[in-house]
């Protein structure tokens, strides 16, 4: 069945329009980061930063405590993601593969937990942390981030586990594996994409969190990058160039992770359909 010329062209035409639509704001962020101040705010838009400058990046990177923030952000984010992956895998396996009393209730809790309005529960979280003398520490912060992503992680992993045909697992057990071994040898490898994509979600969530760290951790040595990102806004307005440079840098780890995971988790994107 050959499609007509028009039939083959319009999807590409639409794709080009969509490409521009989706990439332009991203491009604008990056381009602005390189612009001279006078081009940043301009009555005629400057589309190409021809006389590019690195001063905004310079300012962003040389902000006080920058590297402390970077390492804290990494510790907290990676900690929360790994922790939630471990806890979620155990729970997801139970609810996907086992039947027991209270299972339905747990699934409901997991669903409902995704609705938690963290933005407004922050003062309660703060009071708890304060009254237990745990302010200015990365531990409660990591724990709360873990909780913010845990329900989604359980939910998604459960879907992945359920998708693995039980026969595979059973045949492994027929071959003499214990259930734990069957899980580790059969299911776990098949979970890789699920683990990757949920960790991406977790990473983005924890990496971006601002309001909680802002009131829990008031000492610079336990603060994270979102505080740095917002530091280029003052009462008298926003330093656009520096904010955009900071945003660009801020997005880099997520992009790297994305590219890395793209092979494993999003692998189908480039060639999946062709193979089918």
């Amino acid at each position: 069945m050959r499609r007509s010329l028009i039939g083959r062209t319009w999807p590409n035409a639409i794709a080009v329009v969509l490409f521009v639509f989706f990439i332009f704001p991203v491009y604008w962020m990056i381009a602005t980061a390189f612009k001279q101040d006078s081009d940043v705010i301009s009555r005629t838009p400057v589309f190409l930063p021809l006389n590019a400058t690195l001063e905004h990046f310079d300012k962003a990177v040389h902000a006080e405590n920058f590297w402390t923030y970077v390492s804290n952000s990494l510790i907290v984010t990676v900690g929360a993601v790994l922790g939630s992956l471990v806890i979620a895998t155990l729970a997801a396996f139970a609810i996907a593969r086992m039947r027991f009393r209270g299972r339905k209730g747990f699934v409901l809790v997991v669903m409902a937990a995704q609705m938690a309005p963290w933005e407004v529960m922050i003062i309660a979280a703060y009071l708890i942390v304060r009254d237990n003398d745990m302010l200015n520490s990365l531990v409660p912060l990591t724990a709360f981030y873990l909780m913010m992503v845990l329900p989604f992680t359980i939910w998604t992993l459960r879907g992945f586990i359920a998708a693995v045909p039980k026969e595979l697992e059973e045949s492994a057990m027929v071959d003499g594996c214990t259930r734990t071994q069957a899980f580790l040898k059969v299911i776990f490898p098949l979970l890789a994409p699920g683990l990757m994509s949920t960790s991406l979600f977790g990473f983005i969530t924890a990496w971006n969190e601002f309001p909680l760290v802002n009131i829990l951790n008031k000492k610079p040595d336990v603060q994270t990058l979102p505080l740095w990102l917002s530091s280029f806004q003052t009462n008298f307005g926003t330093d656009w160039g520096a904010t955009m440079a900071a945003s660009t840098l801020f997005a880099v780890p997520i992009l790297i992770l994305f590219v890395f995971l793209q092979r494993k988790a999003v692998g189908g994107l480039t060639d999946g359909a062709v193979k089918g």
């Binding site: 705010i41 003062i123 003052t234 307005g237 926003t238």
Partner: protein, 428 residues
Amino acid sequence: MKRQLIAAVGVAAMVVGLAACGSDGKKNDAGSGSSSAAGAKNYSGKTLTVWLMDGSAPKGWTDSVKSEFETTYPGAKVDFQIQKWNGIGAKVTTALSEGSVDVLEIGNTQTAGYAASGGLLDITKDKDALGGADWAANQNESTVLEGKQYAAPWWVSNRVVAYNKDLWTKAGIAAPPKTLDEFYADLDKLKATPGVADPIYMPGQEWYTYFGLLTTEGGKLAKKDGDKWVGGLSTPEAQKAFDTYKKLQSYSATGPKDKDEATPQQKDVFGKGDIGSIIGLGWELPDEKTMAKDKIGFFPLPGKTADKASSVFLGGSNLAVAQASKNSDMAKDFLKIALNDKNEGLVAAAGSIPNKAALNSQVAGDFAKAALPAAQNGAITPNTPTWTNVENEPNPVKDFLTSALTGDYAAAAKKADDEIAKRMNQKQ
């Protein structure tokens, strides 16, 4: 941060000049110490945490204060933590509840609110030791609540007109205006000049300028009626002030009526070079690279007659000791050092108005020199704990300006008055 640029040269000069006074200052401190057993003990291991707002402390000030303090308290450390503006309200409140901050900078319109909530230490007894007898009366107003002193004035600053000298020359204007009518005439001339986008750039929600005009007319944003607060925008004075505001704003074709001076930053707009003038603070100016300093002139916003300029909003900062501070004696001594004549002199040199009239002569920079006379008839918002509620977003005064500029005055004023009253009468 920006403000220092303006007077960077001035500061450098002052630092050199003041090196000599430094020792005098220290001697005074040692002599007047009420609570300070300084010098006698070793304070190693003690740290005083001081919160300053981003962009507030002049260059050189923190270093000067730090070294002086650490000499007085051998072994002790001052930890200056620069606070960002984003999410600051809840951050200060929670910090005051923890005792994680010893000394903090608080905006002068916010001080009464924190004093009433029990967060700030009563320093009435220390006022004299801090030099309080000489504090400018209009600055000290905001630090006192019900007769008690909860903070010490640090600096204030007020808005003046900054103008692009090249454009004004091009428009054929020889000298800055002395009255509002002259100013309007100048703006008309600028409007007719090619290459001028706006004779004056003025967003609709620049409520500080409106506040100045309101004070000039004798009006108030809120008044106490019995034991209740009532909004003051539905008054003839407020309407007269608004008429002036509207007339000025009408010269700003590009100034968005629903935005304040921070979005976009008016310094960036002014820096484009096609804006005749703005009304702003010393650090709301383009940097040297964008617009050379000598291209910018300043004058106070004129009044109706040449003998009196318009009144201004006297924004500024106070320094306070946290009630929950575990080092309150050290914190009080810190205030003594931070506010001594040498360090207040650095504030003046950086272009802000210091807390004592005697130091006004040290005020440096074209901006500050234009601002200083107008500051004498400056005023602040009602000095009462619930005022800060009004400044919370969405600020009803800002919304009032937008509504009144685009619609019916009486309705806008009524709505804002209701909201102001509601917020100021709120249970604490």
